[in-house]
Each structure stands twice: as structure tokens, then as C-alpha cells.
């Protein structure tokens, strides 16, 4: 609130100078003299790291982010900050003998997670593989036949594995990405500096970058969001699958799991001995992709 008053006293010109650092368009907006806009820009620039904000700062930040999203999309959105539940560690298992390559998970993920539509960011990539081989270099990423599954092929969906020993988290020079208590690796999009070292470090190509201002039509915006999950992103930051943190922390399933028409996807709490995922891990033959790299993925593949 102090900053509000601070701006009230300042002349427009000097304010323009102060905010010019965050981009030419900001300076232009500053000239218009809209005080609330100015305060928001100032607060955005100096916004603290998510994990360093006290409850009051977090409340103010969320209010501002919701206000700005309303301006940007003309629609109310809700940004949750609910933390990880105690005794929960999320894990995923995928039955590759059931996956037929429909890519329904890919579409559902995009609908849920507010990815930029024009640059077509997708968190899940389904690889069409030759039967009898696990060589990723032979895989087809852009398969597009009349019908799937194709003869002689099997399908391998890949997304963020939420590694227990995550190279991306080690790589980040500013701690903008970390592992939450429930095992989900998240990004503070407002802290990321966009160096893309995490993308270099990830062995699963699970991280994606906003090369331009994300384009998302208002009618396609999903208003139920989480700060660490699917809230609208800005240009110049990385993003990734968060096991739909906005859903799963409320006891729901990830969008990809719900969308899968063949029931190939099993998601749940690894710490709950009664969970379906624990059943899979204990009774099926499972494997993990690139396990030899020692990143300890929490995403398993299995067959019937």
C-alpha cells in the first residue's frame, strides 16, 4: 500500500523513466497516467519469489494477478495457492498396450492448461514407435494417418516425469523451479528469467518456452487455475506439465487421465498402499524411460 501513495506523489514523467526498464510498452502506458496500472506494473516488476512471500503479500499478489488477467482476457479467473497435502506423493503409470495413439490426452491437456494456441505448446508428446524397438530416434512425432493404431506400431506418450532427482531444478540459476512436497515440479512463471537452461537439462523434452506473448482466445481460457499450474503465462518464460496441480490437489484426476478413452492412464498417491498406482507397481512389469540417467522419474510404463 505504501507504493500506491508513492506513485500518487510522483510526476508521470519520472515514473515513465522508472518503469522503462521493463519494456518500451510499459513506458508508453506510464505516459497515459493510469495510476492503478502503474502500481500493478511496479508491483509486478518487484514481485517476490513465490516461496518468499508472506501470506499478506501472497494475497495481494493473487489479487493483482487476477485483476490483470481480467484486463487481458475480459473474464474472471481464479488463482489457487493451495499447498501440497501431507502424506501425498503423486505418481503416474501408463499402460502402453492400451494406448492406441488417439492423442485425446494431448488435446485435453491443452484445453485444461491454457497453453499458447498459436505456438501450439503441448506438454504431452505421443511417439509412434516401430514394434520391436525402443529407439526414440526412429519414432514419428507428427504421425497423421487416417486411423490409428497403425499396423506394426505402438504408441509412447511422453510428458514431464516429475523426477525425484530433477536435472532441470538443479540447472535453474534463480531457483524459479522446484519440487513441491507432493512430488510435483513447478515453476514460478513470475520469477523465471527465461535462460532456458532447464530445457537443456531435461532428458524428456518436457519443458517448453513461450517464444512470444502467449495467444489464448478468451472463450478457450480455463478460469480455474493454480499459481503453480495453469494460470496464464507471459512471454519469455518456460512451462511444463504439473500433473494438473490445480485439479489433483483438489482430489481430481489430471485432465489427460480423464480424457484417455482406453483407460491406459493410472494416476494416484504413491504413499497410499491401497491406491491403484501402487497395485500397478506391485503387480505389473513396469519400466521407466531412460532410467539409466538416474533422474528417478515418477512416471512408469507397463504392459498387460
Amino acid at each position: 500500500m505504501k507504493r500506491r501513495r508513492f506513485f500518487g506523489k510522483l510526476g508521470t514523467a519520472s515514473v515513465a523513466g522508472a518503469t522503462a526498464a521493463s519494456g518500451g510498452t510499459l513506458a508508453a502506458k506510464a505516459m497515459s497516467g493510469n495510476t492503478e496500472e502503474l502500481n500493478d506494473l511496479w508491483d509486478s516488476f518487484f514481485q517476490k519469489h513465490y516461496r518468499r512471500m508472506n501470506p499478506e503479500e501472497l494475497r495481494e499478489t493473487i489479487a493483482r494477478l487476477e485483476r490483470r488477467a481480467r484486463k487481458r482476457f475480459g473474464k474472471n479467473i481464479n488463482i489457487d495457492t493451495n499447498p501440497a497435502e501431507k502424506g501425498v506423493l503423486f505418481g503416474y503409470a501408463l499402460n502402453i498396450s492400451k494406448c492406441k495413439g488417439y492423442r485425446k490426452c494431448v488435446d485435453a491437456c491443452v484445453d485444461e492448461n491454457n497453453q499458447s494456441r498459436d505456438t501450439q505448446i503441448q506438454f504431452i508428446r505421443v511417439l509412434e514407435m516401430e514394434k520391436g524397438s525402443m529407439n526414440l530416434e526412429e519414432s514419428e512425432h507428427y504421425y497423421n494417418p487416417e486411423t490409428v493404431p497403425q499396423e506394426g506400431k505402438f504408441y509412447l506418450p511422453v510428458q514431464c516425469m516429475q523426477c525425484e532427482n530433477p536435472p532441470c531444478v538443479h540447472a535453474c540459476p534463480v531457483k524459479a523451479t522446484w519440487t513441491e512436497e507432493d512430488g510435483i515440479i513447478v515453476i514460478d512463471y513470475d520469477w523465471c528469467i527465461g535462460c532456458r537452461y532447464c530445457m537443456t537439462a531435461c532428458p524428456y523434452w518436457a519443458r517448453h518456452f513461450n517464444w512470444n506473448e502467449p495467444q489464448l482466445p478468451t472463450e478457450e481460457l480455463n478460469p480455474d487455475t493454480h499459481y503453480l499450474g495453469n494460470r496464464p503465462r507471459s512471454r519469455g518464460v518456460t512451462e511444463k506439465c504439473t500433473f494438473c496441480v490445480q485439479r489433483t490437489r483438489k482430489g481430481r484426476q489430471p485432465a489427460c487421465q480423464e480424457a484417455c478413452p482406453t483407460g491406459a492412464r493410472i494416476f494416484g498417491n504413491l504413499l497410499d498402499p491401497e491406491s491403484e498406482i501402487r497395485y500397478v507397481l506391485e503387480h505389473k512389469t513396469v519400466f521407466r524411460l531412460k532410467e539409466e540417467l538416474g533422474t528417478e522419474p515418477k512416471f512408469w510404463y507397463f504392459t498387460d
Binding site: 505456438t119 530416434e137 526412429e138 534463480v174 528469467i193 527465461g194 535462460c195 512470444n212
Partner: protein, 408 residues
């Protein structure tokens, strides 16, 4: 304190004093810098989408230039060691210029990282205490730390020596020598850390090799001195500063030995990659031969190899190396050859294929090329100014109390 201020004022005045050639050179560089700024403003407005980079190849010429220039910065150590440790009088004459080049290269490195950021407005997140500095986990944090430290050392040691000279006093060995020893270790570290920044990535088999660090140092100690030697030719030609011929011979030998080692290391790497091809080899195959119709890097790497081999032949044969024109030619070939090898030939293939096996090509856009050119021009400008002022002071043209304008 007053002496320091008058030193700085005289330093800057000397740096900008010059004849027609000097001003034409600076005007040319200014033009290129302005072009770079123009392109960068476009990148700021539209985002990094104006670059040729993609989710598949997420680093390009910016980081390529960065890795090369870290080497140039580190290479100053190859002149620092003989001059300060072995007291080589000839090399000592030019060691301050080498440190000037190190300063310019360091600043270029920082600029290349800065223009690569998606959110340069959040640069302050990197500042320890104020931001969140992921030290010691992140190799990028290490790189920021060692580069800043190296820049500081490369500025302060020459500052002290030039300042004493300016006052007409003798630089005290006890004062600067500990700094020199520190800067030698530090120079090695900046390039080692930059190599580790890449080689630590299990996701990128092409870089994930222990030979990367040694290769970085070898190529740096060939291209860096070669670049420096070329600039000395200009110093000899356009200034009164005496550069004895023996210096060229010494630097040429350093560069030659380093290039020979570099080629041997490359050979060792290529042998291991290709004798029995594994997953590890795919990027190398792409680099040297292309995969299917994806062959963007093939002409680059063979040009680089040809240049490096030709340079090493010229430099290894004494009668050839001792001919000025051939020596210069070899140096140019070495600089260009190593620039390709460590830039387009190292950074880009690390991303091809992607960890999921997709072969997606990269080529820089006009924006990236002009921004890079702008940074190079800015670096050359800094080097020119530092070198000019240092030469003026070393020659005794700029002295305390000889200034016509009184300093209050």
C-alpha cells in the same frame, strides 16, 4: 582519491583521442552497434520468436558466441603466465593489452547471455541476497560468479599497474602478484565452468563427455592468442608502441601447440564416437554427415576442420610460420575455425536430435546475426579504447600533473 579521479579522466581522454583512422574505425563500430540495438529492440518487442530458436533447439548463436568468447577471455592467461610468473620481458610489454582483451571478451560474454534471456527485466533475480542465486547447484550460477570475478580481476590488476605508471611510480610486485596468481587460476576456471555447464547435462549425450573441458581449454588457448596476435598487428601498424617481433613468435608458438592438442583431442573424440556407434553418436553423425535431408551443420563443421588443419600445417612448419602474411592468415583461419567448432559446431548439435529423437534444424535469423554483430562491435570498441589508453600511459604520454586541464 583525487589522483584516481584525474587518472580516470586522463584515461578516458587518452582513449578517445585519435586521428582520422581511429575515428573512422569507431564510427564504423558505432554504426554496427546501433544496428544491433535496433534489432534487439525488435526482439524485446516481439519476444525471442524473432530468433531461429525453438523448443527443439533452444540455444543458438547467442550462446555459441558466449562459449567462444569465454575462451578468448580465458586465453589472456597464456600471456599472463609467461610475463608475471616467468618474467618474460617481451611478453610483459603486451600483457596489459591482453588483459584489456579479456575485459572486452568478458563484457561481450555477459551481453550475449543477457540478449539470450527471455525476461531481461528480471535480471536482478540473479543478484545474490536480492534475488535467488542457485549456488552451488546450478552451473549457470557458477558461470555468473566466475565471469564477474574474472572481470573484476582483469580490471583491477591492470588498473593498479597503469595507475602507478601514471604517477611515475613503480608497481609493487607484492601488491599485484597475489592478484596475478589468483587471476591465473580464475582464467582456467571460467572456461572449465563453461565446459561443465554443457558437459553436466545427462540429457545431451553430445556434450556429456569428460573431454569437453580439456578441449575447451585447448581451443581457447589457440583461438584466443591468435585473435590477440592479429590485434597486435594493428597496434604495431597504427601506434608508436614498440611490439618486438619476438612477441609474435612466442604467441604463435603458444597458439600452435594449443591447436595441435585441440586437433588431437578432437580426433580422440571422433574415434570413440564412430568406432562403435551408439545413441551417443547421433548428434556427431548429424554434425558431420547430416541425417537424411537434414544437413544444415555439415558445411560449417567441414569448413571449420579444413581451416584448423590448414592453420596447423602452416603454423607447424617453421619457415612458413615466420612469414608475417602466412602467420596472419593462419591466425585468421584458426579464429574462424575455432569459432565455428565451439559455436555452431558444438552448441547446436547438442540439441539435435532432441532427447525424444526428433531431428529439427536451426539456423540463425537476421535479428540474431545483427544483434551478435552489434555485441562484437561493442566489444571491439571497448578493447580499442582500453588498448589506446593503456598504450598512452605505458608510453608515458599521459602522466599525472602533465595534464593541461587542472583537476579540482
Amino acid at each position: 582519491m583525487n589522483e584516481n579521479i584525474s587518472f580516470l579522466i586522463d584515461f578516458i581522454r587518452e582513449a578517445f583521442r585519435g586521428g582520422r583512422i581511429f575515428y573512422s574505425w569507431m564510427s564504423l563500430l558505432t554504426l554496427i552497434v546501433l544496428l544491433g540495438i535496433f534489432s534487439y529492440s525488435r526482439q524485446l518487442q516481439e519476444g525471442l520468436i524473432v530468433s531461429g530458436m525453438s523448443d527443439q533447439v533452444s540455444w543458438g548463436v547467442y550462446i555459441a558466441n558466449f562459449t567462444f568468447l569465454v575462451g578468448v577471455a580465458a586465453a589472456a592467461v597464456m600471456l599472463v603466465i609467461p610475463s608475471y610468473i616467468f618474467n618474460d620481458k617481451a611478453i610483459k610489454e603486451v600483457v596489459l593489452l591482453a588483459e584489456g582483451l579479456a575485459v572486452a571478451a568478458c563484457i561481450m560474454c555477459m551481453l550475449f547471455v543477457a540478449v539470450d534471456l527471455g525476461r531481461p527485466d528480471r535480471f536482478w533475480h540473479l543478484i545474490p541476497m536480492i534475488g535467488e542465486f542457485n549456488f552451488p547447484h546450478s552451473m549457470l550460477a557458477w558461470d555468473v560468479f566466475v565471469l564477474t570475478g574474472y572481470l573484476f580481476l582483469s580490471l583491477t590488476i591492470p588498473y593498479y599497474i597503469l595507475f602507478m605508471r601514471y604517477k611515475g611510480a613503480e608497481a609493487k610486485h607484492n601488491v599485484y602478484f597475489p592478484g596475478v596468481v589468483l587471476s591465473i587460476g580464475w582464467a582456467i576456471s571460467i572456461h572449465t565452468v563453461t565446459a561443465f555447464l554443457l558437459s553436466s547435462n545427462v540429457a545431451r549425450p553430445f556434450w556429456h563427455t569428460a573431454i569437453l573441458g580439456p578441449r575447451f581449454l585447448a581451443s581457447a588457448f589457440s583461438a584466443g592468442p591468435a585473435f590477440f596476435l592479429l590485434t597486435l598487428q594493428f597496434v604495431r601498424r597504427y601506434t608508436d608502441y614498440p611490439v618486438s617481433p619476438i612477441i609474435f613468435r612466442r604467441i604463435a608458438i603458444i597458439a600452435t601447440a594449443a591447436l595441435q592438442i585441440n586437433l588431437f583431442l578432437l580426433f580422440a573424440e571422433v574415434f570413440t564416437e564412430f568406432y562403435h556407434q551408439t545413441d551417443h553418436t547421433v548428434s556427431a553423425v548429424y554434425l558431420f554427415f547430416g541425417i537424411g535431408d537434414k544437413t544444415a551443420l555439415v558445411p560449417w563443421i567441414w569448413t571449420s576442420l579444413a581451416l584448423n588443419v590448414a592453420a596447423v600445417i602452416i603454423l607447424s612448419i617453421h619457415p612458413l610460420r615466420e612469414r608475417d602474411k602466412l602467420l596472419n592468415l593462419a591466425c585468421v583461419m584458426m579464429v574462424v575455425g575455432v569459432w565455428i567448432e565451439k559455436g555452431m559446431g558444438l552448441i547446436v548439435p547438442g540439441f539435435v536430435p532432441t532427447p525424444l529423437g526428433e531431428v529439427f534444424e536451426y539456423s540463425p535469423t537476421l535479428v540474431e546475426v545483427t544483434v551478435s554483430a552489434g555485441i562484437w562491435a561493442a566489444g571491439l570498441m571497448i578493447y580499442t579504447l582500453l588498448a589506446k589508453a593503456a598504450i598512452g600511459i605505458e608510453l608515458g604520454n599521459v602522466r599525472l600533473h602533465s595534464s593541461s586541464v587542472p583537476v579540482s
